[in-house]
Amino acid sequence: MSIIDPVATLLAKLNTSSSTIAAAYYQGRIHKTDENARDIERLRQLRLLSPDIRDAYQLRASFRHFLNAALNTERLFSMGANIGGYFKRLANLVDEHSIAFQEGRDVDCELYEVETREAISDIADAIDDELIILQAQVATRFAAVSTIAEKKRQNLHYQYRTQQLVNLLESFHFSDIGDQLAGHEELALSFKSLLAERIPAFRESLWSILDLLNQYLFEFRKIEERAKMVRAFELHLNRNPDWEPKAWDEVTSPEDWLQCATPIQIQSHPDVAAPELEELLAEIARTIPSSAGERNKTARPTGHIEDESGNEEISPPELPIRKAVRLYFKEARKSGNGISARDWWAANPVILGKVQEDIWLLRVLAEHDNKGQAGKWALRLDSKPRPDFDGNILINDVIVSRKAT
């Protein structure tokens, strides 16, 4: 029969609801849906979720604090642990343990010992956590907030908290607790190694943080003052567009900022007599032309023109339609009766290729328009007017023939 470990069981349950926990942590609250309903019920039973407004749920404060500490999440004005309360509890437990011990109540003594050990750890962990938070805030100069006013308020908050902790560590009577626990080896060792011996280091860290916070506060105040000064000066200049400073350059002892020394134009030259520079200077000398501005006067040899042209003129291939027009007109010019363009198109598909019949007719007409006056041909249209008498004619064919002399 296996022993049920409640811690392992709890962690296993948390693991199954991890996505819901993460959503509630990052969003601050979570609404119940079909998908997360089981998780929410389970977490409520475990007292890790509590109801929020508008049917939402949020993580319980203790669980959220645990996650904040574990994830080292930066919180604004973070509250910090109640270390004073822990100290008071420790003192009470030690007192009660002494009484139980004196009265011979062994069972109670054991119980108080367990609780005291835990209280010592609680204090050490709480101070440790507090230091981590404070150090993070100080290192980033309160990067989570942007304005100087906010940074100043954050600074004051943490300054107060650090100061309280320092006061607590300095005023608490550790020696009394140590004396009371002296007869109990285990407890005395826990108290000494976990807390008493670490207190000086804690105190030292807290003092250095406090020093930094004080310095930051001073700087923030200075920055704030400077910003105010800039605004005031700008306002003054806006209100007094003709304002000019008084003649501060004519006072007997001008201010330091007016005493800037005259800038000197510095030019350096190498010492040509220095033997260690010889190599470098020779290197530079080799890259310089023998005389400045010298030009290459080498004349180009006289040329001659060859009598025979060695190049053959290459003309581009003639387009098929151009060739067809040329051949058609050449043939038609010789014909007395003329040659129908449509008949020629039908008779010469090889020459015309893919040229369509209407395009061919238009091309023949265009050739006549361009060269008809100079050409030695006559053109006759086979046409008829359009049925609606709009002035246009329908051309059925074009006949080209020899021009009458």
């Binding site: 920055i223 000064m229 330091d256 000197i264």
Partner: protein, 211 residues
């Protein structure tokens, strides 16, 4: 490093973390300061620093009649730059929506400035006002980009900005700004320029008391 620092100082440059970081860090040590001061002292100059130790520069060891002309030249330069520079500082504060004025090392993104002055009519108007502040800001191209380019170039030339990334067009404010704040603080204190907000608060308190 000594020769670099000495040369920069003699040339009238301000040495700060933004412009010459190595030289600035070197100059922070007491030995380096001593070395440079001794050298400058021999030629009638001394090493000065801005109030918050953000920039070093060379000043006259003594101001006599010979140095007066230079003092006048420096003051003329301050008078010329004071208005545009304060205008530029407030413009960059408005663009970045910050309640703190820029200090040495603060970045300034050209793209962000351009976007802001292009999209915001008020900021464009603030930018246009540079046109009334001297011939250094006169532009033929009256677009937001044309004007902003001119202003940035001028601030760079006066030594208050330095280009740190050409591709991203990122600039950084230099330590010379600390020197400028010193001048401004002096003028406010000595010319009776007061913070109107504190004056208004005092007036309000007085009014409440009377009521």
């Amino acid at each position: 490093m000594f020769d670099q620092v000495a040369t920069h100082l003699l040339e009238g440059k301000f040495i700060c973390e933004s412009t010459t970081p190595e030289a600035f860090r070197w100059l922070k040590s007491d030995e380096a300061k001593q070395e440079i001061s001794t050298y400058l002292g021999k030629i009638g100059r001394c090493l000065s620093k801005s109030p918050n130790d953000q920039a070093y520069y060379a000043t006259w060891a003594h101001v006599g009649s010979n140095e007066r002309a230079e003092v006048k030249r420096v003051f003329a330069g301050i008078k010329q730059t004071i208005r545009p520079l304060i205008h530029f500082i407030t413009l960059s504060m408005e663009v970045e929506k910050k309640d703190s004025s820029p200090v040495s090392g603060d970045r300034l993104e050209y793209a962000m400035l351009l976007k802001a002055v292009t999209e915001n009519a008020h900021l464009f108007e603030v930018l246009r006002e540079f046109g009334t502040m001297g011939k250094e800001f006169t532009v033929t191209d009256a677009s937001a980009k044309g004007m902003l380019d001119k202003v940035i170039k001028q601030m760079e030339q006066w030594g208050y900005l330095i280009l740190i990334n050409r591709e991203q067009e990122s600039y950084r404010f230099t330590g010379k700004l600390d020197y400028y704040y010193q001048v401004m603080e002096f003028l406010m204190e000595n010319e009776g320029i007061t913070d109107p907000s504190s004056q208004e608060q005092e007036d309000g308190a007085e009014q409440r008391r009377l009521i």
